[in-house]
């Protein structure tokens, strides 16, 4: 890694609701070294070039989920995207697509949070157990059935990748449906029937058209497209058998 300083041009899509009618591009020249992330580039802008550029960030290590942005039109975590990969060209950063821009690189996350709250994202125990009885037993293989889907960091990159959410924000969307599947697939949980009321609706699994880009951009390998589409079969079986077997085809 050479540590010689180079200059890269970063264009930021600015939107200041109190003064801008619509977003505008603004360009900055940022000195950088090869180890610097796009986030560090944007931080440099805020620290030394323009204090008014606003964005969210915290952990810098791809786990807190704050710093998602469109980087050259691809949804990415800016902390693990590196400036060197765009040099000597310039790069463009923009707030995550499909979500309303609150200001500069900050999107409105309230819809995401409201949906998260709506899916009962907690264990609804299949059988009650007291603390004195110790932990529920769960084999590594049972854990594997949901662990991947529990790795979602709520960064919303998948929402920026999902045209169905962009076209119809009533669609619950990839990340939240993956979270719903995480609980449904947990061997300790018995709340499938309650949650699937949403899952089986147009706003649930059926809002997805299997574009698959959500899984492509997920920085944590959650694969929301799989979480959603594997449930379409359950949903269909339940649809046709619900009158025959009360309680439906839920496991």
């Amino acid at each position: 890694m050479a540590d010689t300083e180079k200059i890269i041009e970063i264009e930021v899509l600015r939107y200041r609701p109190e003064q801008d009618k619509e977003p505008v591009w603004q360009s900055y020249k940022v000195p950088f070294t090869d180890d610097m992330s796009v986030l560090q580039g944007v931080q440099y802008i805020k620290d030394y070039l323009d204090e008014t550029v606003s964005f969210r960030w915290s952990c810098r290590m791809a786990i807190c989920g704050s710093c998602g942005m469109m980087i050259d039109d691809k949804p990415k975590l800016s902390c693990k995207t590196f400036l060197r990969d765009y040099y000597p060209g310039k790069l463009r950063v923009e707030a995550l697509k499909h979500l309303p821009i609150e200001r500069d690189l900050i999107v409105d996350a309230t819809d995401f949070i409201t949906k998260l709250e709506s899916i009962k994202p907690y264990i609804i125990p299949k059988e009650e157990r007291t603390l004195a009885q110790g932990e529920y037993l769960q084999t590594p293989e049972q854990r594997d059935m949901y662990e991947q889907f529990s790795s979602c960091i709520n960064c919303m990159l998948c929402y920026a990748a999902c045209p169905q959410y962009g076209l119809n924000p009533k669609f619950t969307g990839p990340g939240i449906l993956a979270l719903m599947h995480r609980y449904n697939a947990d061997s300790r949980d018995g709340g499938q029937a309650e949650r699937n009321e949403l899952g089986y609706a147009d706003e649930g699994y059926w809002g997805c058209t299997a574009v698959g880009y959500c899984s492509e951009v997920c920085p944590k390998g959650v694969d929301p497209a799989n979480a959603i589409n594997q449930n379409k079969m359950n949903s269909a079986i339940n649809y046709f058998t619900r009158f025959v077997t009360p309680g439906g085809a839920d496991k």
């Binding site: 977003p23 691809k74 821009i101 594997d144 962009g166 698959g212 589409n229 594997q230």
Partner: protein, 131 residues
Amino acid sequence: MSNRRPYVRSMDGWWKRDAYFVSYMAREVTSVFVAAYAVVLLFGLVRLGQGEAAFNGWLQYLKTPWMLVFHVIVLAVFCYHTWSWFKIMPKTMPIMFVGGKRVQPGTITGTGLAAAVVACLALLFIVGGVS
């Protein structure tokens, strides 16, 4: 009174924004050709019901250059359909384990494509054998 004024960006032309979206739309557009092909077959079936002369007319029509061009395109589109169908298939299946190991997406796609090759060959042989 809130100072917020969230800005919603337009979705116009979204499918041109990303190569991934372009390939998705290509996959979806295959359906137009599937429909067209089904209509051609339906037409043949109706003609069959109308008797030999009608059916032969349909057979003759298939031999026109336009229909050849059409079917060559449809063949290409069907091949793309087969490929894209099995490519998305791993997303539609629950997580599976064989011998304690997770079945990889590539394996599912590969198996599907292999099945398609076998089915196509079988159909060709059956048709060849019967006739």
